[in-house]
Amino acid sequence: MSTAELLSKQEYKYGFVTDIESDVIPRGLSEDTIRLIVEKKNEPEWMLEFRLKAYRHWLTMKEPKHWPNLKYPNVDYQDMIYYSAPKQKATKASLDEVDPELLRTFEKLGIPLTEQKQLAGVAVDAVFDSVSVATTYKEKLKKHGVIFCSFTEAIRDYPELVKKYLGSVVPTNDNFFAALNSAVFSDGSFCFIPKGVRCPMELSTYFRINNAESGQFERTLIVAEEGSHVSYLEGCTAPKFDKNQLHAAVVELVALDDAQIKYSTVQNWYAGDEEGRGGIYNFVTKRGKCAGKNSKISWTQVETGSAITWKYPSCILQGDNSIGEFYSVALTNHAQQADTGTKMIHLGKNTRSTIISKGIAAGKSNNSYRGLVKVMPKAEGARNYTQCDSMLIGSSCGANTFPYIEVMNNTSSVEHEASTSKISEEQLFYLQQRGISQEDAVSLIINGFCKDVFLQLPMEFAVEAQRLLGLKLEGSVG
C-alpha cells in the first residue's frame, strides 16, 4: 500500500455521533433567539442586556473575510442552530444524575467523568454542544477557594465576579465573531483562583460538538487574583459530518499582580476529508490581560484539526514587568487552512513577550502565521523575541508568515527570526537507514521541529500532542 493510500484510510477516531435526545431551538438568529436562550438558561436581566448589546453591535459588523489568508464559502448565520442541549435535569446534584449516554461519550473520548474513574490530578468541565454536562473535583477545589464551574452556574452563583470580568478583556464589540459569541454563548467554563492560591490541580475543559447543525459558542473566563497560579488545559473533538460546523468561542484571562496563568490547548476538531468536505470552522478569540505587575500569561497551543482556523491568542501586557508568552504548533494537512498567531500588546514598563510559532503544512493545505507585536509609548524597556518556523511537506502546500511590528518608543527591543524548511529526502533516508520506518521518521523530525513548544505543555498533553501529529501526518510523505 502506498503511503498516500495509508493516509486516506486514516480514520479520525473521534468522528462518532452520540445518539441522544436534545433540546434544540429553531434555527436562525434574532433578538428573539437571544431572549429564548436567556429564558432557557434562566439568566438575569443584566445578561440579557449584555447579549442584546453584543447582538446589536454584531449586526453592524462585517465578517473579516478580506485580511485572513483563508478561503471559504459564506456562512449563513440564519441557517444555524444556536442552542442544542442534551435533555437532562438542569442542575445535577451529583455526577450520578448525568445521562449515562453522555458519560459513555466522554469516556470514549478518553475523559472519564464518574467519581471512580476521574483523571488523577486534573479537574474536568465537560461541555457537550451548548452546555456543560459535568464538572469534576468541584468540591475539592472549593476547599482551596478555587471556583471551577460551568458558566451557567457562575452566572447564577457568582454574578458579581462574572459581571466584573466578563467582557473586560474581549469587549462585546471587539470583532465579528466575539460579538456573535457574546450574543449567543450558551455555556463554557469559569475559573477563579483567589489571592495567593496555587491551584492544587490542573483545570481543564473538554469541548465536544455533537449536533450536526448547531454551532458551538462557548465562553471561558479565568481570573487569577494576586499571587495565584493556575494551569488550564483545553481539548476538543467533533464527529465527522459532511457539512461544516461553526465554533466561535471567546476565552478571557485576567491575571492580577504576581499571578500566573498557563493556558494549553490541544485542538483536534474534525478537519474535514481530503477534499475539504466538512470539518469545523474555528473562529476563536482568545486574549489574556496581564492586568497586574509581574503577572504572566502563557498560551501554548497545538492546532491540528479544523477545516479553517482563525485564532490569535493574545496578551495585553498592562502591568509593569508582566510577561506574555505564545508557543504554537499549527499543523495543516489535506485541504485545511490555518491563519493563526498572536498579538502582544506592550503597555507597561519592562514588559516582555516571547513568541515561538511552528507551522507545518502538508497535502494541499495552507498555513499562515500572523502576529502583531505592538509596543506603546509608555512601555519603556519592553522586549520581544519572535521566532516563526515553517516546515513544508510535499510541494502542494503553502506556508506564510505575516509579522506586524509597531514600536512607539526607543528603549524597547524587538527581535524577529523566521525560517522555512522542508523535510528532505536525505533526512528521511538517514533515519530509515537506522531501521526507523518512514512514518516514524517523519514523526521524529516533526517532533524535533516542535520541541520548543512541546516542552511547554504539561507532560501528558505533550505525549498526546506528539501522538496526534504523527497520526495527522501519516502517509503525507512519499
Binding site: 528532505s424 529526502e425 536525505e426 533526512q427 533516508f429 538517514y430 533515519l431 530509515q432 537507514q433 537506522r434 531501521g435 526507523i436 520506518s437 518512514q438 516514524d440 521518521a441 521524529l444 523530525i445 517532533n447 524535533g448 521541529f449 516542535c450 520541541k451 520548543d452
Partner: protein, 259 residues
C-alpha cells in the same frame, strides 16, 4: 553474506555502476577504492537503498535474500548499516532519543523486548566508550552543531549500538584529522567480529593502515578494475589511480576479476 552479481545502477537516468560483481563473506573486511566519480559511493548507497538510485539490472543477495526488494529501514533492521559520508542533522531530536528508537526498532524486529530510557542509557554509556564519546553528546540534537570528526564518531557510535551484520563505511575518513581517524578506526576494529563483515569505501589508503582489509577492490568507471589483498592499497598509494584508469580505458581490462 553478500553477493553482488553483474550490478548496473545509476541516478537520474545516468548509469554509474556497469556490471559490479562482489562476494563478501562473514568475518571479512573489504576495501572499495577508486578515484572520484568511479562509483564507490553509488555502490554504498545502492546497498543501503537510497531512493534516488536506481538499479537497472543485476542482483544483490544478502544472506540469500533479494536485498533490492527490501526498503531501507527493512535492510537496516536486517543488519545492513551504512556510515554516511555526510551525516544528516535532525534538529530537536536528541542523539539518545534517536538511538533508542533505532535500537528498539531492531529489537522489535527480532522479537525482543524494547529497552526503556533508563536501561538504554546504561547500554549507550557502555557503547559510547568505543568511540570515546562523552555523555554530553547524547543529549544534543543528532549531528546538529557537531564538528566533522564528531559526526563521524557519532556514525560509529550508531554502528556500536545497532551491531550490524554488514557495515558499509562510506568515506568515513574524509575530513578527519589523524587523531580522530585513529579513534574512529579503533572503534570499528573493536566492533568487528568473525560474525560480521565490513565494506570500507575510501579514496585514500590512509584509513586502511588502521582498518586492515582482507581484500581490496579498485573501482574505475563503474567496474571493478583491479582486485587484490591489502598490498594493492599500498601500491595505489605510491602510484595513484592513473595507471588503472588508463589501462581500463584502453580496453585492456588490466584488472580482470581475479576470482
Amino acid at each position: 553474506m553478500l553477493e553482488i552479481k553483474n550490478l548496473y545502477a545509476g541516478i537520474d537516468g545516468k548509469t554509474i555502476l556497469k556490471g559490479i560483481n562482489l562476494n563478501v563473506k562473514k568475518g571479512e573486511i573489504h576495501a572499495i577504492m577508486g578515484p572520484n566519480g568511479s562509483g564507490k559511493s553509488t555502490l554504498a548507497k545502492v546497498l543501503a537503498g537510497h531512493p534516488q538510485y536506481e538499479v537497472t539490472s543485476g542482483e544483490i543477495l544478502y544472506e540469500g535474500r533479494n536485498l533490492l526488494e527490501m526498503s531501507p529501514d527493512e535492510r537496516a533492521r536486517e543488519g545492513v548499516f551504512m556510515a554516511f559520508q555526510y551525516p544528516i542533522e535532525v534538529p530537536g531530536v536528541s542523539n539518545a532519543q534517536f538511538l533508542r528508537l533505532a535500537y528498539n526498532e531492531k529489537r522489535k524486529h527480532l522479537g525482543e523486548e524494547e529497552l526503556d530510557p533508563l536501561e538504554f542509557r546504561d547500554l549507550l554509556k557502555e557503547r559510547a566508550k568505543v568511540v570515546e564519546m562523552e555523555a554530553s553528546f547524547m543529549t544534543r540534537s543528532v549531528n546538529e552543531g557537531f564538528s566533522g570528526g564528531e559526526k563521524k564518531r557519532n556514525e560509529i557510535l550508531q554502528m556500536a549500538v545497532l551491531e550490524p551484520k554488514l557495515s558499509v563505511l562510506d568515506e568515513t575518513d574524509s575530513g578527519l584529522d589523524i587523531d580522530a581517524l585513529r579513534v574512529v578506526a579503533n572503534g570499528v576494529n573493536q566492533l568487528h567480529t568473525p560474525n560480521d563483515a565490513i565494506i570500507v569505501v575510501t579514496h585514500y589508503q590512509r584509513l586502511l593502515n588502521y582498518i586492515v582489509p582482507d581484500f581490496v577492490h579498485v573501482l574505475a568507471n563503474g567496474v571493478i578494475a583491479r582486485e587484490g589483498g591489502k598490498e594493492l592499497a599500498l601500491e595505489l598509494e605510491s602510484k595513484g589511480y592513473d595507471w588503472i584508469t588508463k589501462a581500463d580505458q584502453n580496453g585492456k581490462g588490466a584488472g580482470a576479476p581475479a576470482n
